[in-house]
């Protein structure tokens, strides 16, 4: 409640910082505009940020989501994080916020909401998608020196980032991950391996899968399971 009050005040005070920027007469119009934009971005940041930590924390993100009328588990929020290159799950720093919103040319919630479809398109460009896919894994590593993610989370993450692209593969893989006993966690190598698997292996006949190649063992097992299942 306290935060929402601060946000409201932030919104109402949005014209206040004008004086400081107007003071600099030598600035070009564009830079003036950009600095104004920057100010608006910053203000937007502070409207969601936790005052004591100076970060947008999970609660702030949830508020942002509801303002944009997007579910906080929506993949677009993850994309937003990717755009910001946010390092810590559930938190945005000012720097990250600026980076992301500037690139999206959004300084209001409304603009941000409108930028989301464009962002989605950008992410889905193949060159960006690998990066986004790898990022989404790293983003989930919350602990110091953590290298792998538990199966449960991986299943959710897979569904989130890859579900729309490779529905069948993701469904089968999740089914497999849930019944197998060999692995309790998934590491980056396996994570990336599955992406290559989705893009390279013809599904669901798996005819071009060769276990002699360097596929991570978990995929060998997955393929074996698939083949057994089929017969």
């Amino acid at each position: 409640m306290r935060r929402s009050a601060a946000r409201k005040s932030g919104q109402s005070n949005s014209i206040a910082p004008i004086t400081s920027s107007a003071a600099d007469l030598f600035r070009s119009a564009s830079s003036k505009a950009s600095s104004k934009e920057m100010e608006r971005i910053d203000n937007l940041f502070y409207s969601y940020a936790n005052i004591s930590s100076g970060l947008i924390d999970p609660e702030g993100i949830e508020n942002l989501c509801s303002d944009m009328e997007v579910d906080h588990t929506d993949v677009r929020i993850l994309m937003l994080a990717w755009k910001m290159k946010a390092e810590k799950q559930g938190y945005f720093t000012l720097e990250e916020w600026r980076r992301g919103l500037k690139a999206l040319r959004a300084d209001t919630v409304n603009k941000l909401k409108k930028a989301l479809p464009e962002l989605e398109k950008e992410v889905k460009r193949p060159s960006n998608f690998v990066d986004f896919y790898a990022y989404s894994f790293r983003y989930c590593l919350t602990e110091e020196k953590q290298k792998s993610i538990d199966i449960e989370s991986i299943c959710q993450l897979l569904d989130l980032v890859l579900g729309s692209h490779f529905r069948a593969q993701v469904d089968y893989f999740i089914e497999y991950l849930k019944i197998q006993n060999d692995y309790k966690v998934i590491n980056m190598d396996q994570w990336m391996g599955f992406y290559h698997f989705c893009t390279e292996i013809s599904f669901s006949d798996l005819s071009n899968y060769d276990p002699e190649l360097a596929w991570p063992l978990i995929l060998d097992n997955f393929v074996e399971w698939m083949q057994e299942k089929r017969t």
Partner: protein, 794 residues
């Protein structure tokens, strides 16, 4: 025309002896020739043309010409008179023969030329014709042979040889034609018919020989001098062949008869082999053997054995069939010796082999190989081997052997219930294969390799367990208490086991278990013979190199050193002054690393033993400063003197058992918890100890410390685990080593190199696991652009 008559006159003058001289004179003539040559060459310069002319051809020409030249000396004499004085060459030649008054020999020419009687040729031929007819009719002829011979001679000399030849030929042809014609339609009984043919052939041969005897001179002169004329004998054969061809029925019937007779013989009847022999000789003599007889014969044989092979393969079992084939091949061989032409042997045997063997190779193997192997029927297997060798089917036999070993061996290896007997079963199996190889497969190199390969395959069918069982088998053999086995027997067993060991791919598993058992044998003094132990180690050393046995040898060294240390400890002042009385202790000092690792086990020792340990420690460290001594109480064993109601006993027990028993010196009854508190032995171990003391067949008995010799489940799993752990390290080390040198390497190449380097069996999936673990630990990374390639991270 004048010369021939002159000649004939002179020759007729000498004929009285010439009938024999034709042959008898040859050797002297030869001598004359050589004389002539030498004479000629020695007199060469003075030789006149005439002399040269006469003698040069005589040296070069063959006997006939020499024969001519001899008559020429006589013949020439008148000519010599006509021409020049006799040449020196002639003079010298005359000297070689008994001296003759050469000059005085004067031969005067008869004025009138000698003429032949008017009907000379016709009359002479009439004589001969009647004789020939008589021969053909097998009747005696009035004219004696000498005269007939003379008649032929005369005709030849008068250049009537050609006519004579044609007349004889005509006569023969008429006869042969009629004889063969007479065979047409003869007896339907083939054997009777064959006898008729044989009779007819024999007669003709005899008759032709007689005719040739009479007309020998014709053969020698006319036939020889005229090209494209057959000798009388060949003429006879030719005519026979010609007329046989003209009456195909006779030929056909003869061939059929022969084939039928041979078939009957094959079916077990006895036949007239002489008849067969003669008739086949006839075919050979006529030059129609291959065409008219051999071909249909081979066809017939092929058909016969094809049918027989089919039938017998169904009816009889494999060993009998093979015996039968062997017998058949032998029979066919005999047949060639007895009546067939020698040239038939190869194709005949090949035909029989093809029909009886080649076509049935796989059926024979499928139906009988396993049975023969299972029954150790070396004789039958030997027969099979030698028969298959004949038809180049050894490869099939070898493959059958390979799959037999694999199948039979699988039963031994894979059946977990039979683990106890696996090694002895394998040894037995191997021994039986070796015997068969020696006695049946004539020590064929390829077969030997097949046995090896198949054995290697099957022993590694199951991971680790065989290696473990081989080690345990050796432990049993090397352990004390194998009464009745001599040193030699033991040595022999070790050698045989070593053969199995050689096939094992996971030698590290063997080593781990062997070491564990060896340690127990050494520490508990249960080794049957240190010599045998050492012999085994040296065998392993020659097999696998010193790296493999280093630690094992170190164990022996420790034991020997410990003896010395114990000796000097007993002599030491510490021992003599401070030791508690009533107990003796000996210590094995073991080098860590050589020995298996033992989990440390807590136990509260009786005071005396603690004192003892401390004094020994003090002594040892004073001798070898800087070392650390750790007591492995779980390995200790003791001999206790106990007084039972029935008398004194000595108890050989483990140290843990001792500790427990000692408690009862001061108490009658103790609860489990009491004992546990007093000894502080870990729960599970204590239970084991108590069980051995209280639940054995004979409680508290001499042999109770067998508990220490026995392998516990934990020990077994920990030994296996240690091997696997060790393998993981080795794989990791190998991957890092390879990647360190290569920096960048594709997955496939890395796997290939790993398989080359690693000496134990390992699955590709296991390698993947290790690679992934190294990626995780950031020794490697997957190449960003190509996930098939690894980069080494320094």
């Amino acid at each position: 025309m004048s010369l021939p008559t002159k000649r004939s006159a002179t020759t007729t003058a000498t004929t009285s002896s010439s009938s024999t001289s034709a042959t008898a004179n040859f050797p002297p003539m030869k001598k004359a020739k050589s004389q002539a040559v030498s004479a000629c060459s020695s007199l060469d310069p003075s030789c006149n043309k005439n002399g040269l002319h006469h003698f040069i051809p005589s040296t070069a020409a063959d006997n006939d010409v020499v024969f001519d030249s001899s008559s020429m000396t006589l013949d020439d004499d008148p000519k010599l008179d006509d021409r020049s004085p006799p040449p020196a060459a002639n003079l010298s030649r005359k000297k070689a023969t008994p001296p003759q008054p050469a000059k005085k020999l004067v031969i005067k020419l008869v004025k009138a030329k000698p003429t032949l009687p008017a009907h000379f040729e016709v009359d002479t031929w009439a004589k001969l014709q009647s004789a020939i007819k008589a021969i053909f009719l097998k009747q005696p002829d009035s004219c004696d042979l000498e005269k007939l011979y003379q008649a032929v001679n005369d005709l030849c000399l008068h250049k009537m040889g050609g006519n004579l030849y044609q007349r004889i030929e005509k006569e023969c042809e008429a006869h042969i034609s009629s004889v063969l014609q007479s065979l047409v339609g003869q007896s339907p009984d083939l054997v009777v018919f064959l006898s008729l043919v044989e009779r007819c052939w024999q007669d003709l041969c005899d008759q032709m020989l007689m005719i040739r005897g009479i007309a020998l001179y014709l053969d020698r002169t006319y036939v020889k001098q005229t090209p494209n004329v057959r000798s009388l004998w060949d003429m006879g054969l030719h005519l026979f062949r010609k007329h046989l061809a003209l009456s195909p029925e006779v030929e056909h019937k003869t061939v059929t008869g022969l084939l039928r007779m041979i078939e009957r013989e094959r079916l077990g009847e006895s036949v007239d082999r002489t008849l067969l022999n003669h008739l086949l000789k006839m075919f050979t003599a006529l030059g129609i053997y291959a065409e008219s007889f051999e071909r249909p014969f081979l066809d017939c044989t092929s058909e016969f054995y094809a049918a027989e092979g089919m039938k017998y393969m169904q009816q009889s079992d494999v060993p009998d069939y093979l015996k039968h084939v062997e017998m058949r091949l032998h029979e066919e061989h005999e047949r060639c010796l007895l009546y067939l032409d020698a040239s038939t042997r190869k194709p005949l045997i090949a035909t029989a082999e093809r029909q009886l063997l080649e076509r049935h190779i796989s059926a024979i193997l499928d139906k009988g190989f396993m049975m023969l192997m299972d029954g150790h029927r070396t004789e039958d297997l030997k027969r099979m081997y030698s028969l298959f060798l004949r038809v180049n089917a050894l490869e099939s036999l070898r493959q059958a052997l390979s799959s037999y070993i694999r199948r039979a061996g699988q039963g031994i290896i894979m059946d977990e219930e039979k683990d106890k007997d696996m090694v002895s079963s394998l040894l037995e199996f191997k021994a039986s294969l070796d015997t068969i190889w020696e006695e049946s497969f004539s020590k064929n190199e390829a077969f030997c390799n097949t046995i090896k390969d198949a054995f290697e395959h099957l022993i590694n069918l199951r991971q680790n367990r065989p290696a473990e069982l081989i080690a345990k088998f050796l432990d049993e053999k090397l352990r004390a208490g194998n009464k009745g086995t001599s040193e030699e027997e033991l040595e022999g067993t070790l050698d045989k086991v070593l053969v199995l060991f050689r096939f094992i791919q996971g030698k590290d598993v063997f080593e781990a278990f062997y070491k564990k058992d060896l340690a127990k044998r050494l520490l508990l003094g249960k080794s049957a013979s240190i010599d045998a132990e050492k012999s085994m180690i040296s065998k392993l050393k020659t097999e696998c190199g010193s790296q493999f046995t280093n630690k094992l040898e170190g164990m022996f060294k420790d034991i020997e050193l410990s003896k010395e240390i114990n000796e000097s400890f007993k002599q030491s002042s510490q021992a003599r002054t401070k030791l508690p009385s009533g107990i003796e202790m000996s210590v094995h000092v073991l080098t860590t690393g050589y020995w298996p690792t033992y989990p440390p086990m807590d136990v509260r020792l009786p005071h005396e033993l603690n004192v003892y340990q401390d004094i020994f420690k003090e002594f040892y460290l004073s001798k070898y400063s800087g070392r650390r001594l750790m007591w492995q109480n779980s390995l200790g064993h003791c001999v206790l003197k106990a007084e039972f109601l029935k008398g004194k006993k000595e108890l050989a027990v483990s140290l843990f058992q001792t500790v427990v028993l000692m408690l009862f010196n001061d108490a009658q009854k103790l609860s489990f918890q009491d004992i546990k508190d007093a000894t502080s032995i870990e729960d599970k171990e204590l239970r084991r100890t108590l069980q051995s003391l209280a639940c054995g067949k004979v409680r508290v008995l001499q042999k109770v410390n067998a508990i220490q010799m026995k392998e516990t489940v934990e020990e077994n799993t920990s030994t296996t685990e240690r091997v696997f752990q060790d393998r993981q390290y080795q794989v990791d080390a190998a991957i890092v080593r390879i990647m360190k040198t290569r920096k960048v390497l594709s997955h496939t190449l890395l796997i290939t190199e790993l398989f080359q380097q690693l000496k134990f069996p390992i699955k590709p999936a296991d390698l993947k696991k290790r690679i992934e673990s190294l990626i995780d630990r950031e020794y490697l990374e997957r190449d960003k652009s190509n996930p098939q390639i690894y980069n080494y991270l320094a």
